[in-house]
Amino acid sequence: MYAYDQYDQQMVDARVAEFRDQARRRLEGKLTEDQFKPLRLMNGLYLQLHAYMLRVAIPYGTLNSRQMTALGDIADKYDRGYGHFTTRQNLQYNWIKLEDAADILADLAKVEMHAIQTSGNCIRNISSDHFAGAAKDELIDPRPYAELLRQWSSFHPEFTYLPRKFKIAVIAAEKDRAAMRLHDIGIQIVEKDGEIGARFYVGGGMGRTPMIAPMIRDFVPLDQLITYSEACLRVYNRYGRRDNKYKARIKILVHELGAEEYTRQVEEEFAHMLDQGVEPPREELERIKPFFADPAFEDGPKTLDRTDPDFALWVKHNTHQHKHDSYVSAVISLKPVGGIPGDATGEQIRIMAQLAKQYSVDELRIMHTQNVVLPHVKIADLYAIWTALGAADLGAPNMDSIEDMIACPGLDYCALANARSIPLAQRISERFDASGKTEKLGELKLKISGCINACGHHHAGHIGILGVDRKGVENYQLSLGGSEAEDVSLAKITGPGFTEDGVIEAVEKVTDLYLNRREGEERFLDTYRRIGMTPFKEALYD
């Protein structure tokens, strides 16, 4: 994986020094809270309901065991012993003291990590496919391109005060495991006439106005990748709406201008910028690539003893096909039955780090579904890994099942939330696990948000739940038919909302209907698409 050189380290160290200086000026009264807020936000520091929250960037969701161990240690030293993995492949600490923030950033900098641009109206951490470099179905490892974009987007002088936050995802497989088209810019690395290039989708997003990004360019040559990105951003910085923060994301600009007109403006800016020397030298990409070269894979057993049914179940759900046939990628579920989705203790984080060091070429990935991946695991080691995970309460065999839900922090932590997400997630997973229905349902992506900002991706859930405030009472709207994958779609609301108990019953009803109506190997989503909303509405409201 990528390792800093002196320059990268220098940039992060400069940022730590700058933040210390900003905190000093705040304490000396030279900065008002209004002035300090956007600065601390650009260092990932939020004020939540009960305490400060610090969000740590994990570029393209890749990290090594040393970094993971440091994250566990920080959880114990500065937080209440927990870290929370997020849908942006990042990690959040929910109980941070402002006076510790600069020290935490310094601890992070020692292991080549930071909280740069994990918040604020700037280009956020670049996300990617969590199986990058391991998946059998990918064209090429997308992370060198993500790293090139990371450097370009870090402290970009022109794009630090954008109309609104800006998220970029890079993938290189037809299967989309990164919700690519629900990003401000989604980039798919593709091959055309034997040449590798980038396909650009711009103007996707969730939030209160969900949009699927239209494709604006089917092929950008790799030696123009940064220039084209810069053109996309400049048009947005100049013309994105700033009169209303709820209409300030690029999706609104693209929607209001129309994809064609936005594209025309980008192409015009791009043509101009090609003469400006914006693109880094081509050698830089060649320098980055070897950091992501395949490790030395060893031939070994390609089959497993599946006589232990619990192990067999975990292997069935939580492993993913690797490009080398003696290996798999193993998913560590952070969704134990009744647990808080995405939470891990400091000790669990260190255990995952240790397993990565011992069994996965010292590498881990964070998934946008709030789980962790050991990307390069020998099939021969799977049983030992599964045993160790089980002992640490990390062995839930539920990837992509209804228990593997995404849930935002909700009203338990977040100042923006209208309703609680976590208790609902906990109750649903307990109930479906106890009844054994989880296994019958197969792939079913449930996503829960505690407010319309949609951090829990409810628009993209096969089943989505949105918590709202209805005359002072928490109320939950149900939606069906969303997907963040290559078959991307936005979920539709079923009708009037439910109480907390009511929405759990509603999930029972729609899943019962699916089990009655499914044909062949259909997933919940497939059945919904085939039979439409009406039968589900009838089951819910008649």
Binding site: D5, Y7, D8, Q10, M11, A14, E18, D21, Q22, R25, K30, L31, Q35, P38, L39, N121, Q151, W152, S154, F155, H156, P157, E158, F159, T160, Y161, L162, R234, N237, R238, R242, H272, Q276, G277, V278, E279, P280, P281, E283, E284, R287
Partner: protein, 149 residues
């Protein structure tokens, strides 16, 4: 070289050796109509490219930041520099210490903040980045260029 705090009027920091323009700015619209205007002020909603036909006669372009969080002026500045504008490019308005280094990189060479800034803090801010990742018109070698000679 930096010339902290010695400029006349409201300009607090200026990185130029020539004499500052000695008369007031006009709006972008007026600049297009008035063939003798040599100083103009861009508001966030103005299209900086409107000025491109007149750059030869302009000695000063002010870019107003009514609120520091409105970053349109950064693009305006770069567009003017990319078009070859060599006159004074002055950031005015709600400027803080923490915007200075990025503004400098986008081509601003004079700063007139609404409220005077602490000179020491500003000196530190202008020197925040020993090296930079992005190529702009300020001709600094980027990190990627340094890596590859």
């Amino acid at each position: 070289m930096t010339d902290f705090g010695t400029s006349p009027d409201e300009v607090q920091f200026r990185f130029r050796d020539d004499e500052p323009a000695d008369h007031g700015t006009v709006t972008v619209d007026a600049c297009c109509d008035q063939t003798n205007a040599t100083a103009v002020r861009i508001e966030p909603g103005d299209d900086a490219r409107t000025l491109l036909p007149f750059l030869d006669r302009l000695a000063l372009v002010e870019v107003n930041f009514p609120s520091f969080g409105d970053g349109r002026g950064y693009s305006s500045a770069r567009i003017l520099r990319e078009a070859g504008f060599t006159g004074e490019l002055r950031a005015v308005g709600d400027l803080g210490i923490d915007q200075l280094s990025h503004m400098r990189r986008c081509g601003f060479d004079a700063f007139a903040p609404d409220k005077l800034l602490d000179e020491e803090d500003a000196a530190r801010a202008f020197a925040t980045w020993d090296n930079v990742y992005q190529s702009t018109t300020d001709d600094r070698k980027t990190i990627q260029e340094l890596r590859h000679g």
